[in-house]
């Protein structure tokens, strides 16, 4: 890519001139690039420097992709453009990717795509040499195998010493173990290892949560070891759990599910490195759930193309896997409208659906839940939702907003159930769906 091509990506003149001002190596820290990506930190108006990364893989045939922790909604922002200009001018050093950039690239999951869903841009790999592709695949496989052997040894040590000892480890030690797995191209496992560290410090009841997570992590590894004996959809599931990306194009090539989809909940989590957004859609006629998962560097703004409380008709393509919640929205048919009614299930049915999902995949982290006709109940610090038959689901935190919306009358609540507690995300009351603060 040359300078003109980089500048041609700018959304307007202001971004173009701002980017030229930022394309000065001395303004950047920890900046570098390799064949596929460029990254760096640049000081902006915020307190912390913005972290920018660009996926160059589309070059030269297509457009690069980018992410930046600045709040600008311009695509690309001036920081990403500035970084591209530095690449174009050859002013960046070769270097090793920082872990978060590696993870972002892995999470983008469309790196092997030959075409993209949006605008169908061609990727450089379209006419890739099959032999080279096979070599890459084998290299990754070996890399992952090595990472998993290390992880098994690490797990054995942890269990031998006991959870009580493991709890006193520093935060950094969990992150280091995670970073090693990112290096081994197993970002899914990296996430689970980091989650162990969080579980160890999650307050009363932590040993139960940590042991359950250890068991599920072990189950991924057992699955990996016996991949040849598993049915195809579980093979895909295990590979996804390890962190093998599924090409976006492959997903979009699957047969779509056309339905009217209600956007019922969204949750953004930010661990200081990566920001993740989960958006839950619920199909009206098939009654199924679809999960839209986006990641970006910490602080980055997400697209506002799906708005909680609206409904639209669209083709949804499902990622392969045993439960098949993760999805992409393909073609849309017509505009989004406000949701005017939302019915939910009883508590017993919600738990049955969770068991059903677990039967398909024991790694389902959270089951989306839409419970209808429930009343919030407060017992000191313990909150729960109770349905008409007296069945209750505990909440993970006090939710005064749900209580305010209900006024003690039955309402419909959407949230995520992790097997222990329900995290409420939105509430349907007074004829509309209200997002509830996270």
């Amino acid at each position: 890519m040359d300078e003109a091509a980089a500048l041609a990506l700018a959304p307007d003149d202001a971004s173009r001139s701002a980017a030229r001002g930022l394309a000065v190596p001395s303004l950047w820290a920890e900046a570098g690039h390799d064949a596929e990506a460029a990254w760096g930190r640049v000081r902006g108006s915020g307190r912390l420097p913005y972290r920018v990364a660009v996926d160059l893989a589309g070059e030269p045939a297509g457009e690069p992709a980018w992410t930046c922790s600045c709040p600008s909604r311009k695509q690309p922002c001036k920081h990403a453009l500035g970084l591209l200009l530095l690449v174009a001018r050859g002013q960046l050093d070769d270097g090793d990717r920082p872990p978060e950039v590696e993870e972002w690239l892995a999470g983008r999951a469309q790196r092997q795509a030959t075409t993209s869903g949006r605008g169908g841009r061609a990727r450089g790999g379209e006419v890739a040499d099959p032999a080279a592709q096979e070599r890459r695949r084998a290299r990754r496989q070996a890399n992952v195998d090595g990472g998993i052997v290390d992880l098994e040894r690490w797990l054995d040590d942890l269990v031998r010493g006991g959870l009580a000892v493991a709890q006193s480890r520093s935060w950094a030690s969990w992150d280091e173990a995670g970073a090693r797995l990112v290096d081994a191209q197993a970002p899914g496992l990296a996430g689970r290892v980091r989650a162990l560290g969080r579980a160890a410090h999650s307050g009363p009841g932590w040993p139960d949560r940590m042991l359950a997570q250890l068991g599920r992590l072990h189950l991924v590894l057992e699955g990996w070891r016996h991949l040849d004996q598993l049915p195809p959809e579980l093979v895909t599931e295990v590979r996804t759990q390890v962190g093998f990306p599924t090409a976006r194009a492959d997903v979009l090539a699957t047969a779509p599910v056309r339905d009217r989809w209600d956007v019922v909940a969204a949750v953004i989590s930010d661990d200081g490195t990566l920001a993740t957004r989960r958006v839950w859609l619920r199909g009206r006629s098939i009654g199924g759930w679809a999960l839209l998962l986006d990641t970006g560097l910490s602080g980055a703004a997400f697209d506002v193309d799906v708005v909680v409380g609206t409904t639209f008709e669209a083709d949804v393509h499902r990622y392969p896997g045993a439960v098949g919640q993760r999805s992409l929205v393909g073609g849309r048919h017509g505009d989004a409208r406000p949701i005017e009614a939302l019915n939910g299930s009883e508590v017993a049915d919600v738990l049955a659906a969770d068991a059903f999902a677990l039967a398909a995949s024991p790694w389902v982290p959270q089951t989306p839940v839409c419970v209808g006709s429930v009343v919030p109940l407060v017992d000191g610090d313990a909150w729960c939702l109770v349905d008409g038959s007296g069945d209750g689901l505990p909440l993970d935190r006090p939710s005064w907003e749900v209580l305010a919306l209900s006024g003690g009358h039955p309402v419909t609540v959407v949230g995520e159930w992790d097997g222990h507690r329900l995290s409420p995300l939105s509430c349907f009351a007074d004829g509309r769906l209200w997002a509830v603060r996270g």
């Binding site: 139960d208 068991a355 009343v375 209200w434």
Partner: protein
């Protein structure tokens, strides 16, 4: 939660296999049993892998086999049907921004009270989902409570009853006055007792006084003085005997001083009557109502006993200062009608003993006629204090007249008085205050700091009907003179935001609901 092998497994995991060794082959509940047995009895697995495999099976089984909770607590009675419509969606967004301090609310948090007031006054209510944030805010900031109460509706009051921190919203001051004030009074810290006394006095003055009397002989001097200060707000003749016969004769000087200050608010008090006699002995009316002042040579002992203090650093001399204190505590009716008395004191010797004394007395005795007469006098010390004695429409009217009549340099001293006029400012005041402020910016740029707050106040407080013209005038002024641009940008933005806010709030969406709120 579920009895069975899980707790034992957690215990083993906590200790580590190094200490516990290999798990014994085990069984699980129901259909999981054989699977648990298969993994625990598998000799090919290391002790660590046996534990991990058992955890995998049991954790999944526990989650899959989860049964609903059966909560034992009773739900509170549901809220009564909603009364009045919620505000429209745009208004709800604005409220969210004002509460969270995000744009455009970031620059205009001070508009929140008005939002709530208009919301309540037009029979609408805060959207249910925003009630917790609004109740939280008013729990921390008492000044918001009156306007919040009007905008809560049945739902808001129902919600407030569910949380101890929000109980202030149901039944005036419940939650602040404990069930047994006497016990709290006897046991509280100094700060707690002062807060308790203020809360009790606000509900009913007499029990508050009884609390003070109940422990008076044993309380520390600084507590006694603080209690008397609290009694002085909303003081009445019912308090006079205690203040006159006990607090005024206290052994501690601070307590005596607080008591005489409190008694000076009561023109019917015995102290005021004594002050009247003293004042009349030193101020006599001459021909044409002209007053003559004779200063005391020494501070008489009985004056000092009633709280008249010495001071060598007073302008006009210490002797005038003694008399001033006497005048400030004497009933204003001593002097006949205010305008004649003020006119009779103009330009006389030792007039500085009279005018400031009257000003303080007008404030203590809440006498608007005296405040107006004194504001008209040429040199008043503290016009803000006098203006506060007037009711808001009278303040606006006086300030409008004063600004209109003021020669060029005067607005600089009058403009700060704008802060004493609460919302809504009538159109005439908005026009003249903003006009004079803008003129001051142009004529004396060094004094622009005096004009700036007035322009912001005008934007915040202009009557809704006066806002469009105000905004148009500002825009016009900015176009006509670039020097005004920087000064007027913020008031203009604020005025526009307020116009939008009021339009959103009163938008005829669901129709006006003027139904009065029942209990």
């Amino acid at each position: 939660m579920t009895p069975g092998p899980w707790p034992a497994l957690v215990k083993a995991a906590l200790l580590g296999t190094e200490r516990t060794g290999r798990l014994p082959p085990g069984e699980g509940p129901g259909a999981v049993g054989p699977l648990v047995h298969a993994v625990t009895a598998d000799a090919a697995r290391s002790p660590e892998r046996v534990l991990l495999a058992a955890a995998a099976v049991l954790a999944t089984a526990r989650r899959a086999g989860r049964v609903p909770d059966r909560p034992a607590v009773e739900a509170p009675p549901p809220a009564p049907p909603v009364d009045g419509p919620e505000v429209e969606e745009d208004a709800s967004h604005t409220l969210g921004a004002l509460v969270a301090g995000t744009p455009p609310g970031a620059m205009a948090r001070q508009l929140l009270p008005e939002w709530l007031e208009v919301c309540g006054a037009t029979g609408r209510r805060v959207p249910s989902a925003q009630l917790p944030a609004v109740l939280d805010l008013a729990s921390a900031d008492r000044t918001l409570r009156p306007v919040v109460l009007g905008a809560l509706g049945h739902r808001g009051r129902w919600l407030a009853a569910q949380r101890a921190e929000w109980r202030w919203a149901i039944g005036a001051l419940a939650g602040e006055v404990p069930d047994d004030p006497a016990a709290a009074w006897a046991q509280g810290t100094s700060a707690e007792r002062r807060a308790l006394l203020a809360a009790v006095r606000a509900v009913d003055p007499a029990p508050g006084r009884s609390l003070v009397v109940s422990t008076w002989p044993t309380d520390k001097a600084d507590d006694r003085a603080a209690f008397v200060d609290i009694l002085a707000t909303e003081v009445s003749m019912d308090d006079e005997p205690f203040l006159e016969e006990r607090a005024r004769l206290d052994r501690a000087r601070d307590v005596r001083r607080a008591a005489t200050a409190a008694l000076a608010h009561l023109p019917g008090s015995r102290l005021a009557a004594r002050m009247r006699e003293r004042a009349l002995a030193h101020v006599v009316a001459g021909p044409g109502g002209r007053l003559a002042v004779r200063l005391p040579a020494e501070l008489p002992d009985d004056w000092a006993a009633d709280g008249v203090e010495r001071s060598t650093r007073r302008p006009g001399g210490e002797r005038a200062w003694w008399l001033r204190q006497v005048v400030a505590a004497a009933p204003l009716d001593t002097w006949g009608p205010a305008p004649q008395a003020v006119a009779g004191a103009a330009g006389i010797d030792h007039g500085d003993a009279l005018l400031p004394g009257w000003a303080l007395a007008a404030n203590r005795q809440r006498r608007a006629d005296w405040a107006e007469a004194l504001l008209a006098a040429p040199a008043v010390d503290d016009p803000s204090a006098l203006l506060r004695v007037l009711d808001p429409p009278a303040r606006a009217a006086w300030l409008t007249r004063a600004l209109e009549a003021a020669p060029a340099p005067r607005p600089a001293t009058l403009l700060p008085l704008c802060a004493e006029v609460p919302r809504p400012w009538p159109s005439a005041l908005v026009q003249v205050a903003a006009g004079r402020a803008a003129a001051l910016v142009l004529a004396q740029p060094v004094r622009a700091h005096l004009a700036r707050p007035v322009l912001v106040l005008a934007a915040e407080r202009a009557d809704a009907a006066a806002l469009p013209r105000f905004a148009a005038d500002l825009a016009q002024a900015m176009r006509s003179d670039r020097r005004l641009d920087a000064e007027l940008r913020r008031p203009l933005a604020l005025a526009q935001l307020r116009q939008d806010l009021l339009a959103e709030l009163t938008a005829p969406g669901l129709g006006h609901c003027t139904e009065p709120e029942g209990a």
